[in-house]
């Protein structure tokens, strides 16, 4: 058959190909396909009314339906399926690190990714990431997730460094009616939730509440930091081999009110969780972290404010608290400075609040131009800090036992309260300078009260090359603001540095979207980035102790390939392959930890009746050790998941079951290699000697009821 894509009409006539006769009656699905299109577009047509922009960026959108299909229960599950993204684990707690294009895989925090909820930043100030004590976002109230890979500071400002994640929550329009659900699964996990959306005249009301708990997998750690101390200094205090502390209890509630052009949202989330492998890489069966977040935002938007103007503004508030209880090292731990008879204990706490105000305007009065202007003010205040502990750090940063736990806030706080202001302005112009060509140019200036000013540009050239091919060439610069801990922290590992500057990145990308066949779409993106002013731990200038400072440069490159194939009306296959390498220019060697090869594939099969089966496979490979790390190579792993769904009673009930890591593959995430900085043999902290196991086979069952 030669009447394929690209053929002229005459070719089909010459070949004499004749399709099916029209006489047959169309089935229910065939008729609906003629109205709404394929499965994807049916879902879009029956989804929410939403305006999707042509973004000059490399982006992935995960919808609520996608989330159900892959059996995802938290953002971690979703992120692993996104091209260019791998979810690894902090070796200090159990915090999930979203490493985008290889960036940030070697860290205990995740400040290179800007997390937005309905467009409002939710990154916290102490560590700069989305908040370690609050857990990964739950998904039952999520309408869609937009993930932008690459720099975004020209529009979003700080921390849009390796990527931006924007979580769009459900509202009365996208989730009308009342739904309640429950899920139970392995490791004594239970979640229950209820969600409601309705309209009262011009007022939209949506509310959601979820409660959940889990013991977690409690994977066994063979040896921890204390194991090393025991070998070096004597003692037998380590809990290893023993289970990680992975229990968690959480409450999550959100409210969404809409009235004409106004929207008011509020949220409350609380988590009370174990510390994974421990705050100091030492198993901690008694420690807990309690996180609490309260957020609210009020916005007003009028896209047709006047003939050529669209206008909007947003004011938001976020309060975040971390209240920790650590047993950093167990009772009997011996260090060169003494013995911790009751264990090395700490109860740090931090309370911060953020106020943000922003306004934007879009002007379309110039022919072939769409200009977007914006400005804003941010007040980021860590207003209270608590330091309770039973030790002090000496000049080398080594803990010295001091007896009872007392308040050291006045003597040696782990952090002082700090307040940061930022004023910013940006402009972006999308210029259609020729048929099928558009150039987007943007520039944003941020002026921070503590570390100064930074300006970041963005250029995107988009060419609608042919009817079925779009090509993009993108350039952007971005920055990651130093966290308060990096500026002012007092830690056993390294002290903060008030003079520290933001990390910077420059990225160039080429992206292609090709509708290769009516049922096959291919996306290819190629990138190269250079990072400088990297924040790292170095010895202090006096030779005693360590401090964070800007030093060194890394460069990386890679490619992401995606395939979407609607194999039939009942089967859809999507797959992606991500390749990357990152070179640390101080060693000219691989920066390590992040997979250089990563592939993910899933199929969605609409079976007889209302059954839906969705198998998926995830392959993580080629994670290098850094120079000096003589441990054996990190083993590759492949996991299989399977999700089965069915709906009953006209869709009122939806039942689903999912198995993650079906074959119980051993999957390990690399722990950080810490060469003793400055060759100080008594350097007190150490990574876990062995790599960390991630979740074994996990099963859950779920029922949802639409009332």
């Amino acid at each position: 058959m030669v009447c394929g894509k690209g053929s002229a009409v005459a070719v089909c006539l010459v070949t004499g190909w004749v399709g099916n006769s029209s006489a047959q009656q169309l089935s229910e699905e065939e008729q609906l396909a003629l109205v709404y299109g394929d499965r994807d577009t049916v879902s879009i047509a029956t989804g929410s009314k939403q305006l999707l922009r042509r973004a000059p960026a490399v982006a992935t959108v995960i919808t609520a339906e996608d989330i159900k299909a892959i059996g995802a229960t938290s953002l971690d599950d979703v992120m692993e399926s996104v091209p260019g993204v791998h979810v690894t684990r902090s070796y200090q707690s159990n915090f999930s690190i979203y490493s985008i294009r290889g960036i940030g895989a070697n860290q205990t925090t995740n400040p290179q990714v800007l997390m937005l909820q309905n467009g409002v930043p939710t990154n916290t100030m102490f560590r700069g990431d989305r908040g370690q004590a609050i857990g990964a976002p739950l998904l039952e109230n999520v309408e869609r997730i937009e993930i932008i890979r690459g720099p975004g500071s020209a529009l979003y400002g700080a921390d849009a460094f390796s990527g931006v994640i924007n979580i769009i929550t459900k509202n009365a329009e996208t989730a009308p009616g009342t739904t309640t659900g429950m899920r139970a699964g392995s490791f004594n996990s239970q979640n229950v939730w209820v969600q409601h959306g309705s309209r009262r005249g011009a007022l939209d009301v949506a509310a959601y509440l979820q409660a959940g708990r889990t013991d977690g997998a409690g994977q066994i750690v063979t040896a921890d930091a204390v194991t090393r101390f025991n070998r070096a200094f004597g003692g037998s205090s380590s809990y290893a081999p023993g289970p990680m502390s992975t229990n968690d209890e959480m409450i999550d509630g959100q409210l969404d009110l809409g009235y004409e052009k106004w929207r008011l949202r509020g949220g409350y989330k609380r988590s009370y969780a174990g510390l994974g492998v421990g705050a100091s890489s030492a198993l901690d069966p008694v420690g807990r972290e309690k996180g609490e977040r309260i957020n609210a935002d009020l916005s007003w938007n009028d896209e047709a404010f006047s003939r050529n103007w669209g206008v909007g503004f947003t004011g938001s508030y976020l309060q975040y608290a971390e209240d920790m209880t650590y047993q950093m090292f167990p009772p009997g731990t011996v260090l060169p400075t003494g013995t911790f008879t009751n264990g090395m204990l700490g109860m740090p706490g931090r309370w911060e609040r953020q106020y943000r105000f922003s306004g934007n305007a879009t002007y379309t009065g110039f022919a072939d131009h769409s200009v977007r202007l914006g400005a804003g003010h941010e007040d980021l205040d860590m207003y209270q800090v608590r330091t309770l502990k039973n030790f002090l750090l000496n000049a080398s940063g080594v803990p010295v036992p001091t007896g009872a736990v007392i308040d050291y806030s006045a003597i040696q706080p782990h952090q002082l309260p700090h307040r940061r202001f930022n004023d910013y302005a940006y402009i972006q112009d999308e210029w259609n300078f020729a048929r099928d060509w558009a150039l987007t140019a943007g520039l944003r200036n941020d002026n921070f009260s503590d570390f100064g000013s930074t300006t970041n540009p963005r250029l995107a050239l988009v060419w609608d090359t042919t009817y079925d091919l779009t090509s993009k060439l993108l350039y952007g610069e971005a920055f990651r603001a130093p966290s308060f801990n990096e500026q002012y922290g007092v830690n056993p590992g390294a002290d903060g540095n008030p003079n520290i500057r933001p990390e910077r990145i420059k990225t160039i990308e080429a992206a292609f979207a090709w509708q290769a066949q009516p049922d096959v779409k291919l996306n290819l993106s190629l990138f190269r980035h250079i990072m400088n002013d990297t924040i790292r731990t170095v010895g202090k200038s006096g030779g005693v102790g360590f401090q964070l400072t800007n030093t060194g440069q890394l460069h990386g490159s890679g490619a992401e390939i995606e395939v979407e194939w609607n194999a039939s009306r009942k089967v859809r296959v999507t797959a992606n392959l991500s390749l990357q390498e990152m070179i640390d220019e101080s060693t000219s060697m691989d920066a390590g930890y992040a997979p250089r090869k990563h592939a993910f594939a899933k199929a969605e099969w609409q079976m007889a009746g209302n059954w839906m089966l969705a198998p998926q496979v995830n392959w993580v490979a080629d994670r290098r050790r850094v120079p000096g790390d003589t441990r054996s190579p990190v083993p590759d792993y492949t996991t299989f998941d399977m999700t089965l769904r069915n709906s009953l009673e006209g869709g009122k009930w939806e039942l689903s079951a999912s198995v993650r890591n079906l074959f119980n593959a051993t999957a390990l995430e690399p722990t950080l290699y810490l060469a003793a900085p400055g060759n100080v043999p008594s350097y007190p902290t150490s990574a876990i000697p062995y790599d960390l196991p991630v979740a074994p086979r996990t099963l859950w069952l779920q029922a949802e009821l639409k009332l």
């Binding site: 190909w17 029209s22 429950m182 409660a211 006209g650």
Partner: protein, 336 residues
């Protein structure tokens, strides 16, 4: 040790109370929804009710199920939820279903989808029928009952075309007569009313459809002509005809608009597609009108007027088409 580290929230009373409350709500809600089969047949009664209006809709999986759920929600918003709803599978026992309708005193049936229409065609004439959720009945005898088609009204399509392309003078279409003959009759009238000439080719099979498009593309003038893709398995066949038409139209800067929402994602300039909830409200209005008057206000096939619009901005930019500020679109492609 002076400071005992004790988890204080491990069984926090607020957490336990909240979890228990949610669990209770879910269980109570669940217990009120009993599964019930109708004498073992595949016809399934979904919602208990005592109204004089029944909805019969097809058993179909997602994502298509959502279409009917939205239509039903529109119906129920008009009837106050006083309907009796039946999901019918491919092998449903229509006899049992009819008995059930009679026992419940149903006076009018809103038949959705091909399966619903197929059932409605077996009903005696003392029960009213309002049909919807189909492009056109596949030969089922519905007497004089109204059938709300899923095909957008040509008048609305042509009106939108004139908004986006004020210079449009001629519209070409290729259609399979048994599927869309009825609609073309409406369309010719609607075109005339808007100062357009509709040039419609019959496509009995793929070969004749391809030949028709060859004719169209050889004569079409991008300044004044446009191509209309119908909901047609021949004239807008997705695997071969559609990509050819879209590619040639792109190359010749021709406007292509469609009655199929999915075509906009593929590259058509715009489409009108059903506002399912609005369509449900309209069906409910027709059914309630029958209940009050005992007769139908309209009869036979009715093109859909409850629609939303979708546009492809990539195509619009390629064609130099600029949607006006006041123009509302329910969906904008391409998505990022």
């Amino acid at each position: 040790m002076s400071c005992m580290i004790q988890p204080t929230l491990n069984r926090h009373p607020v957490f336990r109370a909240l979890a228990g409350l949610l669990l209770l709500a879910a269980l109570v809600a669940g217990s009120t929804q009993a599964f019930s089969d109708i004498a073992g047949s595949q016809a399934r009664k979904a919602i208990a009710g005592s109204g004089r209006v029944a909805i019969v809709y097809p058993a179909i999986g997602e994502p298509y199920r959502s279409v009917f759920e939205q239509i039903i929600s529109g119906i129920e918003s008009q009837t106050g939820g006083h309907t009796t709803n039946f999901e019918v599978g491919a092998n449903a026992d229509f006899g049992e279903l009819k008995n059930s309708l009679r026992q419940q005193g149903v006076e009018v049936v809103i038949a959705l989808g091909s399966q619903g229409v197929k059932f409605a065609a077996t009903l005696d004439r003392d029960i009213g029928v309002v049909a919807g959720g189909v492009i056109a009945p596949a030969g089922d005898e519905l007497h004089d009952a109204p059938v709300q088609s899923l095909s957008p009204a040509p008048a609305l399509l042509f009106g939108r075309l004139k908004q986006l392309m004020p210079g449009a003078r001629r519209v070409f279409a290729v259609y399979e007569p048994r599927q869309n003959g009825w609609l073309i009759r409406y369309a010719k009238e609607a075109a005339r009313a808007q100062g357009l000439e509709l040039v419609a080719y019959e496509g009995q099979d793929m070969r004749s459809a391809a030949a028709a498009y060859q004719n169209i593309l050889s004569v079409a003038d991008s300044r004044r002509d446009a191509i209309w893709l119908l909901q047609d398995s021949i004239g807008a066949e997705g695997g071969t005809i559609l990509p050819m038409v879209l590619q040639e139209a792109w190359n010749h800067n021709l406007v292509v608009f469609s009655s199929n929402f999915g075509h906009v994602r593929r590259g058509a300039l715009f489409s009108l597609y059903p506002d399912n909830v609005g369509m449900g409200r309209r069906l409910a209005g027709m059914a309630l009108g029958f209940l009050s008057s005992g007769s139908y206000e309209e009869q036979g096939m009715i093109p859909l007027r409850e629609v939303q619009a979708a546009i492809n901005l990539r195509t619009a930019e390629h064609l130099g088409v600029r949607p006006g500020k006041g123009m509302e679109f329910g969906m904008v492609f391409p998505e990022r």
